[in-house]
Each structure stands twice: as structure tokens, then as C-alpha cells.
Symmetry: C2
DNA sequence: AGGAAAAGTTGACGCGCGTCAACCAGCGCG
DNA sequence: CGCGCTGGTTGACGCGCGTCAACTTTTCCT
């Protein structure tokens, strides 16, 4: 299905199609150091197997877990992608994260023993399911496991701080530019193309994530495309001018339209 | 100086003035379980003293730490209050937290060994400074310390998720109402009055925190006051109608103005 | 295959809130 | 005691973006 999207895209945009994110090797997984820590003891396999319960497959739209549900497992994404979101009593939803292969979900529920948010697969997604209980047991003997968990959680906190900055202080263009660049960098980290990739999120999801309306997302995409900074075909995106986009994302006072020719402040 | 503010306020608003937040007892400190965990070993005092380096006083506006600085210490607030904020390269600032007595600052820098944000005292503030390095050493032998750190960090994550919801999905009235109610609840937890307290933040800070303009904060305060739901005198606030404010903060579709008399939905 | 539902796009319109500006009120300082 | 400064308040104005709506394209389901 992702295949199909890519084929279609490559008809219109005649550039080498990129493979969607395949499964990460354990070595490239963000949880690797956690798993490695588990493996450090002599009885490597038995420990690992007690903790990494099993590998599961979720289809597009399926729930990995719900908020306030007992947080019995954490999930490491092997391939595919997932979104996390929180809800108000009023039923409003705020997407708080887009998670790519090698990333860990559900750890924030650690203390309350309940998930703090819900997680949903954005496409067919393969995950490692890790028992929180067993993880804790093993951690008794291996402090490095706790350190890894702390490391991962503080990464999550940094992510939220960046998102807060985006939601509180930026206009629609900056939000979308920053979103795309952030994705680009993450793809690069994972050894994928930083300029050609599939957003696994719909326009509506992106808008929700960035705190703007779905229609505004469309309009900004169109504007960027008219300027020649990127091309998109539904969820497939190609970034043509990373520098320009970076300028949009960062510069506080610059007006994008005027910068094209009139004011040669460059 | 907080004293003075209160005295002034009580002239205009003839209600029993409330004491500003005094120092919390160790027993009421959010870090108590951390300190307690340290104390569980036989050589209680020596351990505690190696780790809790010293108590410090910061004056209004003074920095506890800066982002990207080596994260050598975490700070537990004993009295007063502090704000944390992150910055863009462009120089924009987003306040990410308001911290009251009993709360812990600087833990998110754990993995990168650098603070992820900066922290600044909002008033004269007394803190316990805890050496990260020593904490780690002690944690080698006491897994419960790591568990406490995880607990505190996941609390931070939940806070950010709520803030994201606020910034992404709510209008100015809802943001301010939710902000005030959140504070109210936190004061109640700390055994202070949930209806009469000092915001240690300026209007500008509140606006920044909530992602709205300073002037909008003023206007919404004025509107709420006209409706009789609260009174404010500079940074001193009294909440008169928690229910009404809760309705504003939660209900997605309700219009505040109309609800006063016309629609008796109550 | 075929029809319905979902996702995406574009236009029109108006309101919420940001911005600019003037002004006021405490508070610290000399 | 008065002066200046910082923080707070209020008004006017306009633009960015949310909302509603019509329409197209793609995907999903039977």
C-alpha cells in the first residue's frame, strides 16, 4: 500500500522512488542499548527472552494502547510508524508524537502504572512488546537498564519542549517547515533519505499535531510547492530547498513572499 | 515583598489574606521519596549529606541554570517559585513550566549531561542543590533512587502533555481558566488555599506560557472579573466560581457570555 | 468492478487575537 | 517627596487562520 503510493508518486515526480521505512536492525534501534544492557549478563538469551515478550504486528488505525490503561508493556517500533495522542474530557484530541522505527512507546506510564496517552499505528507496523514488570525485575540487578530508561524519557522531554516552542510561538508556515525539517533529520539519522519520504500522517493529523487546521496545512503545502521548495503528492514529499525551509522555520521576522525578489536582504 | 503585595491586596479585596508559599517541610517535598530512599540505608546521614550538597537562595530573576550548561545538579524548591523556559535560535522564548515548592528541576538533563532548558527564580527562592554525580553513585547501590527519578520524569511528561493540549486546542479563555485551575489544584495539594494565591508570574510570563499575548491575558482577566468569577489585583488572585471556570476550561462548544443569563443550562 | 466513504484541495468569509500605541499605577531610588 | 521605570490596562485596527462548503481524487469494502 505504501508501495502503491510510491509508484504513483514516481509517475508525477520523476525521481528515484525511496523505500518506505523498512524494519530497523536491532543494532539501529533506539532501544538497542536497553536490549544490549539486558544482554550483558551471562545468561543473555534467557533474560532477553523473559523481557522481550514477542513481536507483534498492528494494522493501520489499530491501537497499541489506550490512555489510563494498565501500562503493562512498552513497545519498540521495528518498522512502520505510530502516533501518540492525549484527550480532554471534552473529547478533543492533541497528537503529541509521531514515532518512527527504533523508537520506544509507553515508557511515560512508568510511575503511575498507567499509560499517559494512547498510541495508534499509522500504517502496518511491527513492534517488540516488552513486559514492564519483567523489565523492572531485571532492572533490580542491572542499574544500566534504569539509566537507559531515564535516557529515553529525557529524550521524550526534549521532544515535548521543542513541540511546545512550535505550538506557542510560530505561525503556520514555520510550524509546517519545522515539522518537515524535523522529520528530514530523523530520517537521516535512521539512514533514510532526508529529502524524499512518506508522511505517514494525513493532512488532518499533521494539522492536529501542529495546532493548525487541516485546510491550512493544505494551503501552506500548496504555497511551498508554488515557491518550488518542495513537491508533494498526497503523503509523499520531496524537499527541494532545505535551506529555504530552514530559513522559514528559524527566522523570526522575515516575510517569505517578499524575500523572493523585492527585498534583497538575502 | 510578597508580604507587601498581599497587604496591598487585602486593602482592596477585604478577604483574609493568605500566606504566600512558605518553605515545605521535607515530608511534603515532592522529592521526599527520593531523599527517603537515600536515607533507607544504614549510614543514612552520611549518604544524604554527600548528595544534598547545600541549600541555596536565589533572588527574583536569578538563573538557577542555563540550557546546554553541564547538568551537574538538580534542584528541589523549598520555598518560592521558578520558571523554566526553552529558546529558539531566533531568540524566541517559550516558558515551559512554573515550579512550586516541593518540585524538582533539572532532571531532564540527565542523559545528555546538559540542561535541556533554563530555570529562573520568580521571587526569592530557596532550593536544595543535589549533586547529579553523587546521586548517580548512590543510585548504583539503591535502585529505588532510579525509580524515583523515573517517577518524577514521567510526571514531567504528563505535565507537558497537558500543556500541549492547552496550546494546540484551546482559545484564550480556556487557556487562562485551565491555567488558574491547575494552579489552584497544585496549591491545594501543597495545603495552601486553592482560591486565593499569588501568581508569581507577570502577565507577560503568563501570556508566553499559554501562547497568547500579554494584552490578551489582561483582557481575559478583565472579562472574568466582570463576570464575577474572580478578582485580581496585580499578581494576587481570588477565584470565586471554580465551577464556572471549570466549565470554561473543559466544555468545547459553550459560549461564556451567553451562559450568564440567557441559556439557563447552568 | 463499482459505489461509498475518506482524504485532499480550493475558495469565501469573518472573527479572535496579535500588534501598536497611549495611558495609568505602584515601587524603588535619589 | 517627587521622579522615572517597570508592569498592567484599555482601545483601535487589521490580518492570519479557523470555519463552512463545494468539489475532486483515492481508497476501501463487498
Amino acid at each position: 500500500m505504501t508501495e502503491a503510493t510510491l509508484k504513483r508518486a514516481s509517475v508525477v515526480v520523476p525521481l528515484a522512488p525511496v523505500r518506505a521505512c523498512g524494519a530497523v536492525a536491532c543494532r539501529d534501534c533506539g532501544v538497542y542499548r536497553l536490549c544490549a544492557a539486558l544482554g550483558l549478563e551471562g545468561d543473555e538469551l534467557s533474560l532477553l527472552e523473559r523481557v522481550v515478550k514477542r513481536k507483534l504486528i498492528f494494522k493501520r488505525g489499530e491501537l497499541l494502547f489506550r490512555a489510563r490503561e494498565p501500562a503493562d508493556y512498552v513497545y519498540a517500533i521495528r518498522s512502520g510508524s505510530a502516533k501518540t495522542c492525549v484527550r480532554t474530557e471534552g473529547g478533543r484530541v492533541q497528537i503529541t508524537g509521531l514515532h518512527l522505527p527504533g523508537e520506544l512507546l509507553g515508557l511515560a506510564g512508568f510511575d503511575s502504572r498507567e499509560y499517559t496517552c494512547e498510541a495508534r499505528a499509522l500504517e502496518t507496523t511491527s513492534v517488540c512488546q516488552v513486559s514492564m514488570h519483567q523489565l523492572e525485575e531485571v532492572a533490580e540487578r542491572l542499574p544500566s537498564i534504569h539509566r537507559e530508561m531515564l535516557r529515553i524519557m529525557s529524550g521524550q522531554i526534549r521532544h515535548y519542549e521543542q513541540l511546545l516552542l512550535l505550538l506557542g510561538k510560530h505561525n503556520a508556515e514555520r510550524r509546517l517547515a519545522a515539522f518537515l525539517l524535523g522529520l528530514s533529520q530523523r530520517f537521516a539519522l535512521h539512514h533514510y533519505s532526508p529529502t524524499q519520504f512518506n508522511l505517514s500522517m494525513s493532512r488532518g493529523d499533521i494539522g492536529n499535531y501542529l495546532g493548525i487546521a487541516e485546510e491550512t496545512v493544505c494551503r501552506v503545502f500548496t504555497r511551498f510547492q508554488e515557491e518550488g521548495w518542495l513537491t508533494t503528492r498526497r503523503r509523499y514529499v520531496e524537499l527541494h530547498d532545505l535551506e529555504r525551509l530552514t530559513a522559514i522555520a528559524h527566522d523570526p521576522g522575515r516575510r517569505a513572499a517578499a524575500a523572493t525578489a523585492l527585498t534583497s536582504v538575502a
